[in-house]
Amino acid sequence: MIWDLHCHLTGVPGRTPTERMGQLIEIADRLGIERLCFYMGMGFLKEPTPEELVEQNDQVLEALAHYHDRAFGFCYVSGDHVEVSLAEIERCVARGPMVGIKLWVAHRCNDPVIDPIILRAAELKAVIYQHTWLKTDGTMFAGESTPMDVVELAKRHPRTPLILGHTGGQWELGIRAVRPYANVSIDIAGSDPTAGLVEMAVRELGAERVIYGSDSGGRSFASQIAKVAGAEISEREKRLIYKENLKRMLTPICKAKGIAI
């Protein structure tokens, strides 16, 4: 079975978060995806206001309401609004059902201003996901982090597990950048199903640091699963990537919250 680190409530029809979640679960079932992690709400907001952060997290909470047995929620936070983000972590993670945090493109993660967010998430044992995309075509957003930014973050928080979103986009660079930092795992979601990505990641980082995710509904579950299914690695390594690594990262917070996994 497969656990998916990286899903959104976009790319599928549905008027409400619940309707969209239902659609995604139905499609995920066709491919053997057992659990899905959701971030952000009904639309992509690159620089959300404090009110929009709350609204986005409310939408994920609504989507989770009927699917606690299938889905996990990550709290959307922003380096542009640290105090509100901390309050959202209290509301959604400390007192609510969410089990991780998601930092997207509002504010680069090399800025120490985000450290209180990281520290609080770490205290709660929440999984910390940082989006990264290093783009050669010059279309990076002003607040978009690179793998090298995550390296700076990892150096400031060497004992805190971090996830490098999208393996940095240009995955050959992303893998190399985080290779020396054992607290950084990679998310393979949201890029073309390019042959060789997973093999290089396993060779350079070890399978224990590689996590399957899709970036659905904008991405196909199928194209992203193929990265693992078609990789020339062992069945044990595939199991780690499909599920066991994410389960291991989620176990401390789920245990603390009494969530059976």
Partner: protein, 254 residues
């Protein structure tokens, strides 16, 4: 199963796990592929395309006789390109050609392209146009190639009545209205290699009709499993599945 989007030889920017022809052929056969329409990565940057086409034809025979069907390239920007087209047909017995307008530096409304499409149509050759090879964000910094703008293809299809085109990897930057217009000509087909989004093939079938959709993997650059699993991800009726996996390509091949 017929895979209409396969490449031989070396991807210029990294080695690929299945870029040895024996290994690629074994992988295709294991997946149930009985025919693969095959171009060459060498056509992207080489200017001696006659040499590339010759190697492609030879390697298809040598490593995948009965499985690999060569689609040579023609670059209408090069001098004496009509002879490349002639050799594809007469020397190598190819049934179609695969064009790379973005790597070869012309637009689809270029008069030279129009001349090439007219010649291909006259010879009853299938024309494949590869709209992109990889995500523009991950291209090598020294080789940034824009995706093909397929908009002018609508007029080309209207102008050349016998022209049949397969648009490969056409969905990375596809405009919905252009895809609709291309489908409406009834002489343009689309492969699924670059179709993204959950249940993307189902969405594509709803948009253009199942008779316009072909199984294409873009292997070995993309994992062949991606296209295979996309068919599982979308709830397709048996007839639709058979048409996409094989029947539509068989009709085109006749």
């Amino acid at each position: 199963m017929i895979d209409v989007n396969v490449y031989l030889h070396r991807w210029p920017f990294r080695r690929l796990p299945a870029d040895e022809p024996e290994k690629l052929v074994a992988k295709l056969r294991a997946a149930g592929v009985t025919q693969a329409w095959c171009g060459s990565f060498e056509t992207l940057l080489h200017r001696d395309v006659a040499g590339v086409n010759s190697r492609l034809a030879s390697d298809c025979r040598k490593f995948g006789s009965g499985l690999l069907e060569p689609f040579g390239t023609v670059n209408p920007v090069l001098p004496d390109w009509p002879d490349d087209l002639r050799r594809c047909l007469e020397t190598h017995g190819m049934r179609g050609v695969r064009l790379h307008p973005n790597y070869h530096g012309y637009k689809l409304d270029d008069p030279r392209c129009s001349e090439l499409l007219a010649a291909a149509a006259e010879q009853k050759l299938l024309v494949q146009i590869t709209a992109m090879m990889e995500d523009e964000r991950t291209q090598h910094p020294l080789v940034q190639v824009p995706h093909v703008d397929a908009s002018p293809l609508v007029a080309q299809l209207q102008q050349h009545g016998d022209l049949r085109v397969v648009l490969l990897n056409g969905f990375r930057n596809a405009k919905v209205d252009v895809v609709d217009k291309l489908a409406a000509t009834r002489r343009c087909w689309f492969d699924i290699a670059s179709k993204e989004g959950v249940a993307g093939v189902e969405s594509l079938v709803k948009q253009v009709g199942y008779d316009r959709v072909l199984f294409g993997s873009h292997a070995p650059l993309f994992l062949h499993e991606s296209a295979q699993l996309k068919l599982k991800e979308s709830p397709l009726a048996g007839m639709q599945l058979a048409a996409i996996a094989r029947g539509n390509a068989e009709e085109l091949w006749k």
